[in-house]
Symmetry: C2
Subunit: 103 residues, 2 copies
Amino acid sequence: MQEKCGRVDSIQLEKLLQKVPNSENITRMAAVFQALQSDTRLKILFLLNQKEMCVCELEQALSVTQSAVSHGLRTLRQLDLVRVRREGKFTIFIILQTSTSAH
Amino acid sequence: MQEKCGRVDSIQLEKLLQKVPNSENITRMAAVFQALQSDTRLKILFLLNQKEMCVCELEQALSVTQSAVSHGLRTLRQLDLVRVRREGKFTIFIILQTSTSAH
DNA sequence: TTAATATATGAACAGCTGTTCATATATTCA
DNA sequence: TGAATATATGAACAGCTGTTCATATATTAA
């Protein structure tokens, strides 16, 4: 590793780099943050955190199209941030509780 | 508010909406998550979390151009996730510690 | 069956992002 | 001074994102 400036200590840098999560984890984290980066998806999560809901409830609450809600939910579902339960003709979305957000 | 499907209870929905952070806060949160959504910026934070660094150290550690590091740092700085100290010809970047990340 | 309702999905498009390249600015040291 | 080094910034471009529209699928109820 060629040193770029006077402050660089390549050996120390190598050690610090080892404590950075590996690429796979960084990418997973980035994907989660990327899902949380949309106003609509954040609002969906804040709503689901209070009560499980179907698409049409979210649609009405957020004043966006049903398609937008559904696409947003798919993103959250792919990251396993929300899960799904069927209830008759409704699909109920449930937020995945973490140990810190449950009370 | 016109009801869109059988499950909707407009009055309850209104109450739940009141507990969703207001637009300003949602947008701030989205902006922070958006900054955390890039592999490069995440790695920068994981490195700065271990030790304050100048641009050229980060440049070498991450194997991206100096420009990319600098642009990434600007994003983090604008959100006050990192701060800056001048040290001779170097600009030292410091991560802002939260109460939970300090130990 | 058929109609109505609930959800999913593909296409398309405008807008945004992150990178690199080129260049400007600022500091140090000879 | 001037040269070398460190950082910032603007332009440009490819790639990605989120939305809407149109449509498909699935369930219920008549």
